[in-house]
């Protein structure tokens, strides 16, 4: 067994750069792939080799399985890292890699399939004693069952697509008479977006916290967790600010959620790194929500507090090594916060691609920048609007917040609009600073501003 000689990175932007960095530090050769309008992208410049795999249209390039596998074969890459998004949670791709004798850097195809089937995942974990959100134990085959469940768990409920994600195929139901229509609509969306109309029903928990646990598992069955991330600052189910540890977590709660995460990983026979997402309600009840079978955008906050390089660990695990650390050696040091900086209008959140005319990134003690932008680079409208992740570490949460504010003050960018002013508004909000907030924070902040009058907003 030895580490790979060369890895192809089937992604772009900051995550491709992140993976290339890990490979370089491990002495692994790197192959970047790109679409034909991306000759200036940073991931090409940093990789040892690069292959153009198709036109800007992502279906023909970053989702083009034959092109990516051919690029890997032509460059003698032994493994493919899919990053997040694109093919990261595509079981066909994981399978196709295996058939081409190329290691897919991620969990097993079985893990990906279970992660993608939210009903199945819930069923398995409920049986193993992991609490799940009250609701249907399987698909809702008829409307009457849906009524029964709604009555049992109490309204509001949410209808979800089993194969869903990204807010699609989801419908909240507040009144019994809305149920039939909601099911019909969700079914239609589920078929349209995912080609699978299976639905399930759950109690709709509001004003909760979104807590997730990073896990890692090796082929010998060792499983560890790296503590929790609090991702409750969301706008329309999109995470904006993440932190580790959660400001409201006690050691007791951390131990409990960690045990659930490990139980879940064990039940699913999980391999490689992944994330178990939970809901924490106002009474500190923990409910399993879903499992993400990939590395996540917000993985750096866990790296900052544990000192563990999750991407390096992921690559080593994929190469067949056992975990490099034991649970007992994992300590949470200080506090870390990540702000996702998007090329978007800070008020309307409308994407704002364009050329970066001038750029000065923040730096100094406790500041980490994960980005693929540079002065003179033109942000393409074809891809995600995430342009940089600003990650800070401090000895405690207040130091981390002060550091993030000073880092965002330093972040100078001309030529495009970014969400930096929005982040500053959140970071200086008393509820955020107190740590007492929930998934409705942004919504309520915006509602409050609407009441105060848009003209009073520092962002308008």
């Amino acid at each position: 067994m030895s580490i790979f000689k060369k890895i192809l990175i089937a992604n772009r932007g900051e995550i491709a750069v992140r993976i290339i960095r890990a490979c370089k530090e491990l002495g692994i050769g790197t192959v970047a792939v790109y679409s034909d309008k991306e000759k200036d992208s940073l991931h090409l410049r940093l990789a040892d080799e690069s292959v153009c795999i198709g036109p800007a249209n992502i279906a023909a390039s970053y989702l083009n399985i034959p092109a990516i596998l051919t690029a890997a074969e032509l460059t003698d890459a032994e493994a493919i890292h899919p990053g997040y998004g694109f093919l990261a949670e595509n079981p066909q791709f994981a399978d196709a890699c295996a058939k081409s004798n190329i290691t897919f850097i991620g969990p097993t195809t079985e893990n990906i399939l279970t992660g993608g089937n939210k009903i199945k995942a819930k069923q398995i974990l409920r049986k193993k004693g992991v609490p799940v959100i009250p609701g249907s134990d399987g698909t809702i085959d008829d409307e009457k069952i849906a009524y029964k469940i709604a009555k049992k768990v109490g309204l509001p409920v949410i209808i979800k697509a089993s194969a869903g994600g990204g807010g699609k195929g989801m419908r909240v139901v507040n009144e019994p008479e809305e149920l039939a229509n909601a099911i019909a609509l969700a079914h239609h969306e589920a078929i349209t977006y995912f080609g699978d109309g299976s639905l399930y029903i759950e109690k709709y928990l509001t004003r909760v916290r979104h807590i997730e646990v990073q896990i890692a598992a090796d082929k010998s069955g060792n499983i560890i967790h790296l503590g929790e991330r609090d991702c409750s600052i969301q706008r329309r189910h999109q995470k904006l600010i993440e932190e580790s540890p959660s400001p409201i977590f006690t050691e007791k709660l951390r131990k409990k959620i960690g045990e659930y995460a490990i139980k879940a990983a064990k039940a699913l026979n999980y391999r490689n790194v992944g994330t178990i997402e939970f809901i924490l309600d106002r009474a500190d009840n923990i409910y399993f929500m879903e499992i993400n079978t990939r590395v996540q955008v917000e993985h750096p906050v866990t790296e900052m507090v544990t000192g563990i390089d999750i991407i390096k660990e992921q690559i080593r695990l994929a190469a067949g090594y056992n975990l490099s650390v034991r649970q007992s050696n994992i300590n949470i040091n200080g506090h870390s916060i990540e702000c996702r900086i998007n090329a978007e209008d800070p008020v309307t959140f409308v994407p704002c691609p364009g050329k970066i005319e001038s750029l000065r990134l923040p730096g100094g003690f406790g500041v980490r920048i994960d980005t693929a932008i540079y002065q003179g680079y033109t942000i393409s409208p074809h891809y995600d609007s995430l342009i940089a992740k600003v990650i800070v570490h401090g000895n405690n949460r207040l130091e981390a917040i002060a550091r993030m504010i000073r880092a965002l003050d330093e972040f100078h960018v001309e030529g495009i609009k970014t969400t930096i002013p929005f982040h500053k508004k959140v970071l200086t909000n008393p509820s955020f600073i107190s740590g007492k907030f929930n998934t409705s924070f942004i919504e309520e902040l915006n509602a409050q501003e609407a009441i105060n009058g848009a003209t009073n907003s520092p962002l308008s």
Binding site: D36, K39, I53, A67, G376
Partner: protein, 141 residues
């Protein structure tokens, strides 16, 4: 040649989207360029020529460039001991096979989209090709 001739030339290209005209005869040389040129990351200089990106080599409109539609391995012939599909200088017709690109164990035949003469073969047998990589220049006939 005098200024009247030059005026004629200017009238000729003015209003068209031609950006440069160069003319040389009996020791007389004329170059006319049009349009604002911005040069990235350079000091203001006397250079006013347009920088040509890698992907668009200076091929006159009389030529057709055949690019690779997929990532794969370029094969000039159908089998190791066979003759090449086409050779330099050879006349090709629309629909004629120019090469094969192997990807995922599949042989993809690449046909000519034009009638013309093979002016340049830019890739060697067995060499990997990227999406969009230039493979042939075909002089239109």
């Amino acid at each position: 040649m005098d200024t009247n001739n030059i005026k004629e030339l200017i009238d000729l290209i003015d209003g068209t989207d031609i950006t440069e005209l160069y003319f040389e005869k009996d020791g007389t040389k004329i170059r006319i360029r049009k349009g604002a040129l911005s040069l990235p990351k350079q000091e203001v200089s006397n250079a006013t020529s347009i920088s040509i990106p890698d992907e668009c080599e200076p091929v006159s409109p009389d030529y057709h460039i055949v690019t690779s539609p997929i990532v794969g391995t370029f094969y000039a012939a159908s089998a190791p001991d066979s003759e090449s599909f086409v050779k330099k200088g050879e006349q090709v017709t629309k629909g004629q096979i120019l090469c094969v690109i192997e990807a995922m164990k599949l042989m993809n035949e690449i046909e000519s989209e034009v009638d013309g003469i093979v002016d340049k073969i830019l890739v060697e047998n067995g060499q990997p090709v990227e999406y969009g990589e230039h493979m042939f220049h075909i002089k239109l006939s």
